[in-house]
């Protein structure tokens, strides 16, 4: 069975400080990976997606970056946090993009508070 693990569960950070969030997918080789962001009371917004190691596509510009250093690992980071970065960050995987619609499977998320 596939499992997706996100870390940390929660973070409280100062404005201007760096951030690194991660997720690992086990039990599935070469998944498509995604980062989503959910502001408090807001909808789910896709930030990045990756279909293979070393390749990441940005969907929304929020002064964040993402990397996929390994097939099963997806990292979200920034060197300087903004207040607007607060929210719920979700990592997700799917079998593929392409013409068919694949179900997204989400991790348990990281709740980020920027003060």
């Amino acid at each position: 069975a596939q499992t997706i693990h996100q870390w940390p569960v929660a973070e409280i950070k100062a404005v201007g400080s760096p951030l690194s969030l991660g997720c690992t997918i086990k039990g599935k080789s070469s998944p498509n990976l995604y980062w989503y962001w959910q502001a408090t009371g807001g909808t789910l917004q896709q930030l990045f997606y990756s279909i293979t190691v070393g390749q990441v596509e940005s969907v929304v510009q929020l002064n964040l970056s993402a990397s996929r250093p390994k097939d099963d690992q997806f990292i979200l980071s920034t060197e300087k946090l903004l207040l607007s970065h607060s929210g719920f960050y979700l990592c997700a995987w799917s079998l593929g993009l392409g013409a068919s619609a694949e179900t997204l499977y989400f991790g348990s998320g990281t709740r980020l508070t920027v003060l």
Binding site: T43, A101, T103, L104
Partner: protein, 116 residues
């Protein structure tokens, strides 16, 4: 541009009564499929329903929805709401802009509260 419109805000229903959450969409792209995701309190979203066939009813966990491409709708319904159905519900069409990649777009979400 593309837009997904869901029943706004909070929907409150009494346990045992029917519930309907509306979802319509506007797009110039090809709609491949539609999802409903549910997010329980302090949990990650999970898929509830998926449909890619026009005018075909899809059911899961007592919920059902029918994709109507002619009216651009995929409303979620349940005949008898349960307390455990209280959650945030997202409508999410999958759109293909004509390339090889499809994009899942989430609506703003509808919060369902079931009261006893």
């Amino acid at each position: 541009g593309d837009s997904v419109t869901q029943t706004e805000g909070l929907v409150t229903v009494t346990e045992g009564l029917p519930v309907k959450l509306n979802c319509t969409y506007q797009t110039t792209y090809l709609t491949i499929a539609f999802f409903w995701y549910v997010q329980y309190l302090n949990e990650a979203p999970q898929v509830l329903l998926k449909s890619s066939t026009d005018n075909k009813r899809t059911e899961h966990q007592g919920f059902h929805a029918t994709l109507h491409k002619s009216s651009s709708s995929f409303h979620l319904q349940k005949s008898s709401a349960q307390l455990s159905d209280s959650a945030l519900y997202y409508c999410a069409p999958v759109l293909n802009s004509g390339g090889s990649n499809a994009k899942l777009t989430f609506g703003k979400g509808t919060k369902l509260s079931v009261k006893s």
